[in-house]
Amino acid sequence: MSTKGRILRIEKISTFDGDGLRTVVFLKGCPLKCRWCSTPESKKSRTTFGVSRRKCTGCFDCVEACPEGAISWDMKSERFATNLNRCTDCRGCTEACPTGARQAWGYTASVEEIYREIEKDSLFYFHSGGGVTLSGGEALVQAEFAAKLLERCITHGINTAIETSGKVPWENLEMVLPYTDTLFFDLKHMNEDTHRELTGAGNKRIIKNLKRIDASDHPLSLIIRMPVIPGLNDQKENINALGSFSRKLKRPVEIQLLPYHRLGIETYRRMSLAYTLEGLESPPPEEMERHAAKLRLMGLNVSIGG
């Protein structure tokens, strides 16, 4: 049987996450709980549900449609709650919703199915120097699926990239590296304790994995990414630590600084999850430029991402 993956969604003709025009495959499931996460619907591997309050009329059609009785009206929060333990992912509820307020995130697909979807845009990759990027969630939680998919792509001439948090066993990384042209590797904070506080996990394994990749002979381009979250990880010491760490790496690396954004707020609301950074604003371009300048002074190749 062919390997199946849990997919969040596929975005075509993306200009982030690599060169040219790309197809980005977002995989579901993530070991980290970053406070600024903009895709909370990607965290769990299983299907998750959201309800747009604006569209929901409170008609109870979803409750009636669920054969397992998994949906109920929660008096306290005044919303429909879904008991995921009962949910069998039949999608009866989203189909029944008359206004499209209820949505489901996540589906299962084979390597072949996803490859076919990627291949549809091959002419765009050809003319733009683009390709495919695996993102998440954490794409490498599903390392076998990712490896098979990327092998299929790279052996058909499609440029490949992965975006990873690095928070996976080395074996998972090892499976995909031979099929990866570009690796985007996140370093969210250089301090073990702060990293744990911000993401729910320490960074020891992440740093170790990164060093091992650096020392390996895989001919991939390595790009270190840091999301810049004002007040959380943009302190001088952390930027300096990122710089000194990167300078010590053996291979040439590029550092990309990604400004924090709040585009995920709407999804938090639909999922009835609390957004703990309410009120935090994106760093202004001047500030991003200041961080970049500091790293450049350390002799590093730095860019500011979108």
Binding site: R9, E11, K12, I13, S14, T15, F16, G20, L21, V24, F26, S38, T39, S52, R54, K55, P98, G100, K120, D121, L123, F124, F126, H127, S128, G129, G130, S135, H261, R262, L263, G264, I265, E266, T267, R269, S282, G306
Partner: protein, 794 residues
Amino acid sequence: MSYMDRIEKLRERVVNATPTMDIENALILTESFRKTEALPRENRKAQAFKDVCSKKTVTIWDHELIVGCSGKLPRGGVLCADVCWSVLDKELDTISTRPYDPFYISEEDKKLFRQTIKPYWLGRSNFEKWEAQAPQDIVDLKENAVIYIDRKAVRGPGELTPDYRELLAEGMEGIIDYINTRKAEYDLSKPNHYPRIAYLDAMITAAEGMIILGRRYRDEALRLAGEESDPVRRAELEEIAAVFETIPAKPATTFHEALQFVYLYHSCIFMEQNAASYNLGRIDQYLYPFYEADLEAGRITPEKAQELLDCTWIKLAEPCLFQDGTTAEYANGYTMFQNVCAGGIDKNGQDAVNDLSYMVIQASMDTMLYQPSLSVRYNLSKNPDSFLKKCAECINTGNGFPAFHNDEVGIRMVQNKGVPLHEAYDWNPCGCVETNLAGKIRGYVSADVNLGSIVEFVLFRGIHRKSGKMLGLDTGDPAAFKTYDEFAAAVKQQIDYIINKVVEANNILDEIWDDRPVPFISLSFRNCIDTATDYTHGGTKYPCGNGIIYDGVADFINAISAVKELVFDTGDISMDRLIQALAADFVSYEDVQKRCLEAEKYGNDLDRPDGVAADMMTYLAVRTNTQDSKYGKLMSGILPVTAHVPLGKTVGALPSGRNAWTTLTDGLSPTGGTDLNGASSVLKSVAKIPHDLYASGTLLNMKLSPELMKEQRGIVNLMSLLKTACSLGVFHAQFNVVDKDILMRAQKEPEKYKDLLIRVAGYTAYFVELCPEVQDEIIHRTIQDTFAGQRCCG
């Protein structure tokens, strides 16, 4: 003054002028026709043209270097009395206040019109003849907007490109000499030679008219120079006079003379017959030898040449299209669709891009006006990236130009018109997205067909819901169709029926239109001289039948695909229930509408709707292109101009989920808000339509999401998109990007921007449904620069 100073002043004059009815030519024409009752109609027309050239007001406005005007007023709607006087008669008191393209007309002109023009032409115009001769079934179809076929009866047909290379090389005296040589081959003692001889005389009369007009401009320039106190302007006026010493009688010898010759001829065409889509064609090709020679001789600098081009561009923004109020609703914006083209390949099939190609694009970037319609022929394998980049930069200015044409497809379209490959290399875009060949092709679009009605006729057994009339065929009870193939066969029967009706209408129109010869235009079609046959009467080397435009493509495809998916493939909805829901405009059938809206849609690179697109759109084109007519096989096209708006008002609810009486979708575009996968999927779907078979052209307006055009990579991304569109076989595309202004407007007026989709970093959503903070965030992240404007060509 520096050259942009002059351009700015000229531009202001055009931008600030009010479109006004201009009846001077019509008065002269009428007076002339009164005197020539006894002559053949071609000779009368030529004499009237010559009289207009001799008597019309000749003005040179301040700062102008390139001069001329088809009428008296710079932004005039020139009335072509012999073709369509009755249009103005009907709208005399309303034309200044009508909703689409109003024209001011003075009380004095109204009086002149009633006293002088109307009494003579009453009962004689093309439009009146068409109204009198159209059979009732065709009248019913057009009155209920199943077809629209009056467009070319209310003005001249247009859609042609003179052979400027030949005109510039020979001058009008050279052309007259040539006509005389051919005339000598006829013998009045032989039967049927007299009409040939008379026709060639008419051509000579017309050519003489233009020579007279040129002399009058020379005299006017000298008169103004004599009165001019500013030495700089005096020298300019003397230069203009010197240009007219040579042209148009003699061949052009300099870039300035060539450009002035072209503009004068162009304005004379409008004097003979007012119409949209008279094209200047491959201006970067036929002007290049003059530019090169001037540069070599030190007579010109690139900057001076750019200034002259820019001045010409301003002149091209002057004329306003006069047509009736209904046609204006189908094609509004006063646009004359005077197409100028840059790029492409040469007669050897090699890269034809030269310095002028870039300057032609620059002229549109300098002037930022709605005319001329700048087009590029981009040949993926031959034209350089620098040229493509120049195109992308022009698109990025937001002036809506250039209309981007895939050269290889354009070549094949012209081959489809019966032109051999080596001649098709020289094709040029025409009007909106039509295809043409300078000095060689006759043929123009005559009708629009409402594809929404076709689906309606299948589902309601030939009944037109809005009127309740039986306007289609009864193709049987749709609930009795056992398979999709039976349903599809019924759609094709309805297509055949409507095409046949348009063929019938065209056969009548072709006879009526024979009554409007154009001896002056025919001067620039060598085969018309060689055969002593007017352009109108098929004298060109390659005559074609009329073109049919298909409107509501996305609605048509989505409706058929939804029936396939819901009724036949999944069986989720029965045909009976679907028809009940459609009859009720989905009221009390909200669940059916939801399923209809959720059905797969064209524009997402999906096999089912795209398969329907390939099948149905190929069928439509092939059925159209194989119909015979007096002047050749019919042609097909997908270029709605603005027709999808009025046509939609007569179409009931469709299985695509579209509500009754709402607008249809323009051109080839997916229906707004149904293309959720971005530009690549749109282009993939659009490429499933056989563009090459639609020889009258195909039109795609595309919205690009803002992140695609961010920073320097934006231009490169656009270049990649354009190249890919060419590889896919898409013929034409015009882009606009959702910019900051649009987002801010959407925030203020959400009801107007319901279908505005936003795709940011893995997130796709309707903008107006997002919470205000996220909207602000997206606005904050969006580029400031306005991208390609909304100016739909057509």
